[in-house]
């Protein structure tokens, strides 16, 4: 790694990396993000390395340890390149076959390939597997090509080219124009046009200005941001440098959720590599532009994901949100103009700059451009992270990519947007996924969590789960949220334990509207969504819980067992 003092140095380096002659014939990509590791990816890596050493094949076969590439259900998995052969649910004992037959001889090991459960047909090539076939992996594709510990890998695939273009071929305003033309909107929840936010911050008076990456991915069931930071941290860094250049900022923060230790480690390493290479710090790539980044590790508070609360936390205070306006673009960190975008938004910026806004805008719908990464989890066959073009139908995601609900089950609903989101019933499966249509259906895009629920899920129990979550995470600053989420949670608890009275549903609805209207920040303003959206579609299920003291899904135990079998003096644990 040497300091790059000219954009030409970057290109020379890339050329050298691409021209490196090598005797390597195949690369075995081991995906080792957090879930891969939990599934045993590092043991697989060690077994493969031992096998390569045993066969003395180090000059022909190499290992590449990357972040996650989405198919979590099949972890631990490997992809053998260049053929793109996918093997999932590997055991260390499979290492010999993988190295010897596929790595050295290029032959497919049939018994390790992906099997379609319904037909028993086996598929060897990754891009032919239904889970991958309908995806469009603009942002997440690099996770398969990059060892997140090596900046060289990112440079080789075109990394920091967008930055060089922005810094040397474009003005700050030009960068904003390019992002505007791309139609990029924030991936963190509300879908606010990125360029508009940047412009507001750029034009705001006040100095210095700050840029922030919101990596406090708190929505339970969403983990695409973790995957990007773990697997390809330089993309986020590059996006932030471009944003800082556009807005005239010299200092930035990446606020990473404390529960993501691997992401913190990989981002910190990437930042120091970028500093050594002259991509962060003074005179970036030899230009007149200076910018540096710092990681702040969150400390376990869901509300820190709210932008004003996050700023308070970066300042070293309790993560209390505050009233907006003033918006951060006017008065943010230490009262100075500040721009906050989430991880996925930042990771899209280098793509816009490198490939051009027109190409970016060719994907998606009229108002929602590009792709979105969803985490497809819950009662679904193919759990994982899926990146799809905006405008794809929910049916295609659930049935084609996700493989549907498990055998013998029926789909009940899909919950999107985390605790701030809502449920979309199975009858609305043909919904096109973009910011507007999700809002129209009573939910939100949110950060992209998509929790699939089959007939074993009790909707009232799910609402209770979310309200209990929100009650615990409410920061307590404003009364409507602090007291309201607690009362809603209590009402739902009564319903799921057979103690509800006639009229409780009306009480719940009216309370939900109050909390929604009167709360200070997004946490409280959306806290009613899990209730309102499920009451709208599943009112009957609530009524059965209240009137008949029955849980049709058989989840609420106090309602399914005869009273005599209920444990005496059961502890209160919602």
């Amino acid at each position: 790694m040497t300091r790059l003092q000219h954009p030409g140095h970057l290109e020379d380096w890339r050329k050298r990396l691409l021209e490196e002659t090598t005797s390597i014939r195949r690369t075995i990509v081991v995906t080792a993000g957090t879930c891969g590791r939990a599934g045993g990816a590092l043991e697989i890596r060690d077994a493969l390395q031992a096998e390569i050493d045993r066969l003395g094949a180090g000059d022909k076969v190499e290992l590449l340890v990357t972040g996650c590439h989405g198919f979590c259900e099949m972890e631990p998995s490997v992809v053998v390149q260049p053929e793109g052969i996918f093997y999932g649910r590997l055991k260390p004992a499979d290492a010999e076959a993988v190295v010897k037959q596929t790595g050295l001889a290029g032959k497919v090991v049939e018994r390790l390939t992906f099997e379609i459960p319904s037909t028993g047909r086996r598929i060897a090539r990754m891009d032919q597997i239904p889970f991958y076939k309908k995806q469009m992996r603009l942002v997440s594709e690099a996770n398969l090509k990059v060892d997140p510990e090596r900046i060289e890998d990112y440079i080789r695939i075109g990394g920091y080219r967008g930055l060089a273009k922005g810094l040397f071929d474009m003005t700050s305003e030009g960068v904003i124009e390019e992002v505007k033309a791309s139609g990029l909107r924030g991936r963190g929840g509300a879908g606010f046009p990125t360029a508009v936010k940047w412009e507001l911050c750029r034009k705001a008076s006040g100095h210095p200005k700050y840029v922030v990456c919101n990596a406090d991915e708190g929505d339970p069931g969403a983990y695409m941001d973790r995957s990007l930071l773990e697997g390809n941290p330089h993309a986020v860094i590059e996006g932030m440098i471009l944003g800082a250049y556009a807005m005239g900022s010299a200092e930035g923060f990446i606020y990473v959720r404390g529960e993501y230790p691997l992401a913190v480690k990989n981002v910190e390493r990437a930042i120091s590599q970028a500093r050594v290479c002259g991509l962060l710090g003074q005179n970036i790539l030899g230009s007149e532009f200076h910018f540096d980044l710092q990681v702040v590790q969150g400390a376990g508070a869901f509300v820190s994901g709210e932008e004003t609360a996050m700023m308070a936390s970066i300042e070293g205070r309790k993560a209390f949100p505050r009233q907006r306006p003033p918006f951060p673009s006017e008065s943010g960190l230490w009262g100075k103009p500040t721009n906050i975008n989430n991880v996925e938004t930042w990771a899209n910026v280098p793509i816009v700059l490198d490939r051009g806004s027109a190409r970016f805008a060719s994907v998606g719908t009229e108002k929602s451009k590009g792709t979105k990464i969803f985490s497809l989890v819950g009662q679904i066959r193919n759990t994982g992270l899926v990146e799809v073009p905006m405008g794809i139908s929910l049916r295609e995601i659930i049935e084609d990519i996700g493989g549907g609900v498990p055998e013998g089950r029926t789909l009940k609903a899909v919950q999107t947007g985390g605790p701030s989101g809502g449920c979309i019933p199975a009858s609305a499966l043909d919904l096109r996924i973009d910011f507007e249509s999700l809002a129209k259906a009573g939910s939100i895009m949110g950060s992209g969590g998509m929790i699939v629920l089959d007939d074993r899920t009790c909707i009232v129990d799910l609402a209770r789960y979310y309200l209990h979550f929100l009650e615990e995470e409410s920061c307590g600053k404003c009364v409507p949220c602090r007291a309201g989420t607690r009362r809603m949670s209590e009402l739902l608890k009564r319903m799921t334990s057979g103690l509800a009275e006639e009229g409780d549903l009306a009480r719940l609805e009216s309370l939900a509207l109050t909390v929604k209207t009167a709360s200070l920040c997004g946490l409280g303003q959306t806290a009613a969504n899990p209730v309102l959206s499920t009451v709208a579609h599943f009112r009957e299920e609530y009524e059965i819980h209240i009137r008949e003291k029955r849980c049709p899904a058989g989840v609420c135990r106090d309602l399914v067992s005869p009273p005599s079998a209920r444990p005496a003096g059961k502890k209160e644990r919602p």
Binding site: D219, G316, S375, V377
Partner: protein, 159 residues
């Protein structure tokens, strides 16, 4: 003689700043080093960051990650994310509460276990998930959870 927290902290935190904005990184580092935040060190930390002790206490008690008491020998964190919930995460906690005889968030009287819950670890494909002393265990059932505790109690290595 009283422990000289100032010099000890100056040494530990030599790469860290001394402003209010450094509060959270500093608390993380202190906790990493001592495995908790020693209450006796609070005055020295507060002076270093130039904030009042009450302000510092307010911040560290706001965030779940910081603890003023030492950790027990083993920590079990059960994931309460939505994906784990719909796959039965609740029952894992209930089982562990029964086996350990303490509610979530508390430690066993013998100081051997702390039982915690955590909001989503982002390993939704392999849920329900629990983390034992930093190691993630996938696809946990109530029986498997009981087994893990049993193995630690008898001194075996958990599978």
């Amino acid at each position: 003689m009283e422990r000289d927290w100032k010099s000890e902290l100056d040494e530990l935190l030599k790469d860290f700043g001394t402003r209010q904005r450094d509060t959270i990184p500093v608390l993380h580092e202190v906790q990493r080093h001592f495995d908790h935040i020693p209450p006796a060190a609070l005055p020295a930390i507060a002076r270093r960051l130039r904030v009042s002790e009450s302000e510092l206490y307010g911040v560290l008690s706001f965030y779940k990650a910081f603890s003023l008491r030492p950790k027990d020998a083993h920590t079990i964190s059960v994931c309460m994310g939505t994906a784990c919930h719909v796959r039965g995460g609740d029952r894992i906690v209930e089982e562990l509460e029964k086996v350990l005889g303490v509610p979530a968030g508390k430690s066993t009287p013998d100081g051997m276990f702390t039982l915690e819950t955590v909001n989503c670890l982002g390993c939704c494909a392999i849920g329900p998930v629990l983390v034992l002393d930093g190691v993630t265990h996938a696809r946990i059932t109530p029986a498997a959870a009981r087994d893990i505790v049993g193995r630690i109690r008898t001194g075996e290595k958990p599978a």
